[in-house]
Symmetry: C2
């Protein structure tokens, strides 16, 4: 995971006394799992819209945080949170209208076949639950994932997240396929090649006596390095998986809730109706909530027999927050904004070639290859750019197997002039 952009604890001596103390206190209290971004860690104290502010009052344009997708601390979302938290917050074994109103509105944004919604607290839990349902429905255990996928951190889902690195083994019955390739010259080959890889994985499962359960992919392939085009390329692979008796789980934790601009859900770009859809990150604009949508016939037996219950999932406060987020996306036209500003950003980045490599993405999720003179992934240069931009007041990240793909995914409320400010700064740095 976090390679290109991690603070090196050995460099703590280079920090000012205050921040050094904070970094040391963190290491002492939280231990080694808690990494920090940037060569000079950021100490943030405030957020609003697409802007975050550090302890010294310096402002940063946030082009990284896709969780706070309607804008940091959106007043309508905070008000909904505070109002319901002051009224009642209990689990779903009592009747409450919030969870029903929210489920109804959420499902209305999806194809009618996805009839049921279930609620968890994190995307990891959503993928974990989707996996359990898929294995139950198919009777299978074989899951296909891409080579640098990230789907979450429960034991079962970390084992389906090859991006965790070699220390975390991939599940025995899983098969890892290469991410889709970017082939602007022959777009129709992208889907064909990806489907061929998926068919190879299915054949290998058969060879080993493993019954296929699911194809699990992020519909934007974000941690693989952002592979969005051509829209529709996923369909052939999904058909192959279904022909083998397995289901298609669309991981919408990153692509969902309007981020792609053209569609509310990433799978819609591919003209597909998934069997299960998992949701997370931006769902509560930072409030811990996640969930899934599923076809009723696929859920039926599992839900009746296995008695799934999530203490916090779907509580009235989370549902109120989720509803407010959906309302803001609609009221403020954030999907259209993502499409408009995303297109501007993408075109601007493309105009910076050849200093930048290939630019890929949809809406406000953009990946930019950073390559060396020979066209190879340039991890160090990517790291340099991410840190130089941070110093200039712009926050982005990096993704992909070599952490050489700039990861640009601002809140959906990013304004045109903010995008232009970022493009100018980047042009200056290049």
């Amino acid at each position: 995971m976090l390679k290109v952009n991690a603070f090196d604890q050995q460099q703590a001596a280079s920090l000012g006394a205050d921040q050094r103390q904070r970094v040391e206190r963190r290491a002492r209290l939280l231990g080694p799992a808690y990494q920090l971004f940037y060569d000079q860690p950021l100490h943030l104290v405030q957020g609003s819209g697409a802007t975050v502010t550090d302890h010294a009052g310096k402002r940063y344009l946030d082009l990284y945080n896709n969780v706070q997708s309607v804008g940091h601390c959106h007043p309508k979302v905070v008000a909904a949170l505070a109002a319901q938290a002051g009224q009642l917050n209990v689990h779903t074994r009592y009747l409450h209208d919030n969870v029903l109103d929210y489920a109804e509105r959420l499902l209305a944004s999806m194809p009618a076949e996805l009839g049921h919604a279930m609620f968890t607290c994190t995307g990891s839990e959503a993928n974990d639950l989707a996996l359990r349902i898929a294995c139950d429905y198919t009777g299978g255990s074989g899951v296909i994932v891409t080579e640098y996928a990230y789907h979450g951190i429960t034991q079962a889902i970390a084992a389906l997240s090859p991006s965790m690195g070699s220390y975390v083994p991939v599940a025995r019955d899983a098969r890892v396929v290469p991410a889709p390739r970017h082939l602007p010259g022959s777009p129709q080959a992208v889907g064909r090649q990806f489907a061929a890889e998926v068919r190879k994985a299915l054949a290998d499962m058969q060879r080993h006596g493993i019954k296929p359960a699911a194809l699990l992919v992020d519909t934007l392939f974000t941690s693989d390095g952002v592979f969005a085009d051509p829209a529709g390329f996923l369909a052939e692979a999904v058909a192959a998986v279904r022909a083998a008796g397995a289901v298609f789980i669309a991981d919408e934790v990153q692509p969902g809730f309007g981020r792609t601009g053209s569609h509310f859900w990433g799978f819609q770009r591919h003209g597909l109706v998934p069997d299960l859809v998992t949701l997370g990150k931006p769902m509560g604009n930072g409030h811990p909530m996640a969930g899934l949508a599923v076809k009723p016939d696929i859920l039926q037996r599992f839900a009746s027999q296995a008695a799934y219950f999530n203490t916090f999932g779907g509580n009235p406060v989370s549902a109120a927050v989720g509803l407010a987020v959906l309302e803001v996306i609609e009221e403020e036209g954030l999907m259209a904004n993502a499409e408009r500003v995303g297109a501007l950003l993408k075109a601007g980045l493309q105009s910076l070639a050849p200093a930048l490599g290939t630019v890929r993405g949809a809406g406000l999720f953009i990946g930019v290859d950073i390559v060396d003179a020979s066209g190879q992934p340039d991890t160090l240069r990517a790291r340099g750019l991410v840190n130089a931009l941070r110093d200039e007041g712009f926050l982005i990240g990096a993704a992909g197997p070599a952490s050489s793909v700039l990861k640009i995914r601002p809140p959906l409320c990013l304004r045109r002039e903010e995008a232009e400010r970022f493009l100018s700064a980047l042009a200056r740095l290049l």
Copy 2:
């Protein structure tokens, strides 16, 4: 799971039009996993202290919800939530003082050996993470759990929760031991017998070539039916497990945060220092947050190599809420209250024998056996009592393999007169 106290969807016709509609809407939107409590489901709209109010304005004394442990919608907790949510809510890869202040305060409530805190969103995630760490540290895969344990709902943890029932298989390398027995006549035998069962499980693991990883128990054995006494009985089993190279994970999701009255953590009643401690439910008084405390040497390799990160876990809002909860517990003397009112409640329940069976528990977590004339678990009578109490305005639940143990675990702020009111109502019903 939920057997004694579940609403039967077939009975929807018996409800008033409004509630019938709500129940049907739930089934349509959320599917079959979402069960409701009580023969007549409750439609709650408000909560304050230990009181919840339904849509018709009827008030209920809440003796069930251990999540809202400092009282429903506690103003100080809601204020902390609203204030920080309006300020900044981001992940832990930036510096922020809230998570450090919270971790420091949380760890200060535990033995010094438990040096690191990590944060998740649910108790399931906390147990899942603890399991991963334990397996990594020991190199083992064998986990010992009790026969009706519940530790959570991720795939890995559901497989260590035999109370899920026969549809959810127990992990191949896990071993299930009987819950501790209640032996008031020979208290010193409780620990000896439990340790003997644990030793048998360890021997069986050895016989099958399974390396032991952990003993994972709720330190009050709540879902097994509440087995608290004698304090200290767990020590011999833990010693056996450690001698076999495995670690002790104390699941404090239910016993923790002062519920036992005499101690802040359930493991302290047993005079033990666990290797890992998992936390959840009352940690945020309803806000989705959970976590674990762990000895640094046990965490070291996993945390350095496996790069655990939880998007929402430990965010500044959750940390502010967690801090407020700890402050309220201290400022309002809720631990002492739990001890005082818990003792009153326990004595009052014991005085209702022989209409009630054995009364067990510590502080404000009490289990009461409901048995028939021959002393056998009486599931139907327990169900009748739970529902009759609901009609009288008192909310409790049921636990144990036969759902025949009344589960009484009110918010820690339960007042003496509220406990007395409940005891009078129960006496009338009996």
